[in-house]
């Protein structure tokens, strides 16, 4: 038996290769550079440089793309404008996330534990802290996650999609477990995230196996051809499609697959929460779009029931439960569940417009999320003896923040208004294009629910703004909260503020770019 060496077009893979290569080099640096402080700087530089370089290469590819795109690896992957748009969005989130990972408090404290393997509160932990250990592996791990997400957006084969899913999920499970403070919470969040994440990828895999059985292939295009032609295997096709969709909805964090979201968001170190909230949602949305438009388009009618139900449940549950939260990170987690519902609204009925609306929506949502969590890293509790402790995440502790630090509170207010979708912020434009995509397929009842949910959600966003600006610092609590100043975190806040304002006031250029990207190389729609 002779094997034919496959022809691989390396050039279109360049952005992914840069990121994954830099991650591998990062692991080498981990073993060769011995001082933690130097290692941290080297790895931060490596991460940011490689992510920016990959984004630049992707942008060049976009500009010089030949026709609609390229099929790579014998149909395993397509690099079209849609894929490149998502890759650039994820790279931006990755670069901002890397900056946040490196941010330190004024006292020089990182967000990550000095040694992940030791138990909290033991002598070993104190020793590791005193020796100045640092878990600098977080940078290569984040790079692996970004590389996996980039693959996730452009892969066109169900099994390869499963591999990409795990490549980006496994580093995230570890990152969630590495918080410096409240390590019990962090462990618990990681355990729940891991078990439910592994469960969801197993669902996805079994669905892929069933689709393979029914259609004889795992390539998206041939699966969709199989769905159109094969008769008599409907239960196999339908259950396979529902399982595959469930696996992807899990990563999106939509009800009823949402239960990991609040725990993982609250337990994870805040920089990880920021990165994961922004980038995972973007990657999951991209894969959901590609799978629905290229592979499962023939089942649009059958799947619309699933999407409608999940979208309505997500919007309602996310909004209602966020209303009663008193913990800030948890509140933003439930708000992210509601946003997952809004994303699905745009997807209902598989309108062609969603291909250009959703990248914009996710870009605006991700920037605001990264910014909001960056602000959270800056507001710290202070102990009895004046030492600065962990982040102040109880809502009450944010009372009067506008008096302590008007700029920081103003930035947070902007992000919250963007989440709520108030005009002149990026969130408004994002919601507008997403909902008009849904309207183009006549999904007006869904849009109605979405608008009502947005209005209700505005209540808890505005409540926090009122708390920050119109409430005084409680008596005797003047010293309980301290506003930290970390240049890197402040830089992330500044960049995201500029992004949110620009996308809100002059969305035209970016919108038309993404409109360009609303074409899939393969598939029935678009």
């Amino acid at each position: 038996m002779s094997f034919v060496t496959p022809e691989i077009a390396w050039a279109p893979l360049a952005p992914v290769i840069i990121v994954l290569g830099a991650a591998a080099i990062g692991i080498l640096i981990e073993s060769f550079v011995r001082t933690p402080a130097t290692r941290r700087i080297v790895l931060l530089t490596l991460s940011v440089v490689s992510l920016v370089a990959a984004a630049a290469v992707a942008a060049v590819q976009w500009a010089t793309l030949d026709g609609a795109g390229t099929i790579v690896l014998d149909g395993m992957m397509t690099v079209d404008r849609q894929a490149l748009a998502w890759q650039i969005v994820i790279l931006v989130f990755g670069a901002l996330g890397a900056l946040l990972f490196a941010a330190r408090t004024r006292a020089g404290e990182e967000a990550f534990t000095p040694l992940g393997s030791v138990a909290p509160g033991t002598a070993e932990e104190t020793l590791a802290r005193r020796k100045g250990f640092q878990v600098t592996e977080v940078f290569p791990l984040a790079l692996f996650a970004v590389g996996g997400m980039m693959l996730f957006t452009s892969v066109t084969d169900l099994i390869f999609l499963f591999v990409a899913l795990e490549v980006f999920s496994l580093p995230l499970y570890i990152l969630v477990a590495l918080a410096r403070r409240r390590r019990f919470l962090s462990h618990e969040g990681a355990l729940k995230y891991f078990l439910l994440g592994a469960f969801s990828s197993a669902l996805f895999l079994f669905g892929a196996a069933l689709l393979y059985g029914a259609t004889g292939d795992t390539n998206f295009v041939r699966v969709s051809e199989g769905i159109a032609t094969v008769t008599g295997l409907d239960p196999l096709i339908l259950s396979g499609a529902v399982l595959v969709m469930s696996g992807l909805l899990f990563k999106l964090g939509a009800v009823p697959f949402h239960s990991w979201t609040p725990d993982a968001y609250q337990g994870a170190p805040t920089p990880v929460t920021a990165f994961m909230a922004a980038a995972t949602k973007a990657a999951a949305t991209a894969a959901l779009l590609r799978v629905s438009y290229e592979a499962l388009h023939g089942l649009a009618w059958e799947l619309s029931w699933l999407i409608w139900t999940v979208a309505i449940l997500s919007m309602l549950l996310g909004t209602v439960v966020a209303l009663v939260q008193t913990e800030l990170k948890r509140m933003l987690a439930y708000s992210s569940i509601a946003h997952a519902g809004f994303i699905l609204v745009a997807l209902a009925g598989f309108p062609a417009d969603a291909l250009s609306a959703l990248p914009f929506y996710l870009l605006s949502y991700g920037l605001a999320t990264l910014g909001a969590f960056a602000v959270i890293t800056q507001v710290r509790e202070r102990g009895e003896d004046g030492t600065v402790l962990g982040e102040a995440t109880r809502l009450g502790q944010w009372a009067g923040l506008g008096h302590r630090s008007p700029w920081l509170a103003g930035a947070m207010a902007l992000f919250l208004l963007s989440f709520a979708g108030i005009p002149l912020t990026a969130g408004f434009v994002g919601k507008f294009v997403a909902f008009s995509a849904a309207m183009s397929e006549g999904a007006w009842p869904l849009v109605l629910v979405a608008v009502i949910a947005s209005a209700a959600a505005a209540f808890f966003y505005v409540r926090l703004i009122v708390l920050m600006f119109l409430t005084d610092v409680p008596e005797g609590q003047e010293d309980a909260v301290e506003v930290d100043h970390s240049p890197l975190a402040r830089a992330v806040v500044a960049i995201t503020v500029i992004g949110v304002v620009l996308l809100g006031i002059v969305p035209g250029p970016v919108l038309s770019l993404f409109e360009n990207a609303g074409v899939l190389l393969l598939g029935a729609a678009g």
């Binding site: 099994i159 591999v163 795990e166 462990h187 078990l195 079994f206 393979y212 725990d263």
Partner: protein, 99 residues
Amino acid sequence: MDPINFVILAAILFAIGAAAVLLRRNAIVAFMGVELMLNASNLALVAFSRIHGEIDGQVMAFFVMVVAAAEVVVGLAIIIAVFRARQTISLDEPAELKG
């Protein structure tokens, strides 16, 4: 024997695995449930591969095995970290995250 029987067996194993994840309160047992689900998928892939008379599905099963091995590494690391911190791996015990 008709290879479709193996697909039915795979579906049964998958259901047992899913039930273990959702019902059992021990993290290790829940994790074994996940592994059972992944291996049920492998069995289904190989059986379908036999039905279609090609080897694609068998090659995919190898990919799944590698990914499952990587997942075990990460999963056990997290479970051991939790065990060291709490001396228990019950999923009911850690209950600091609520609401």
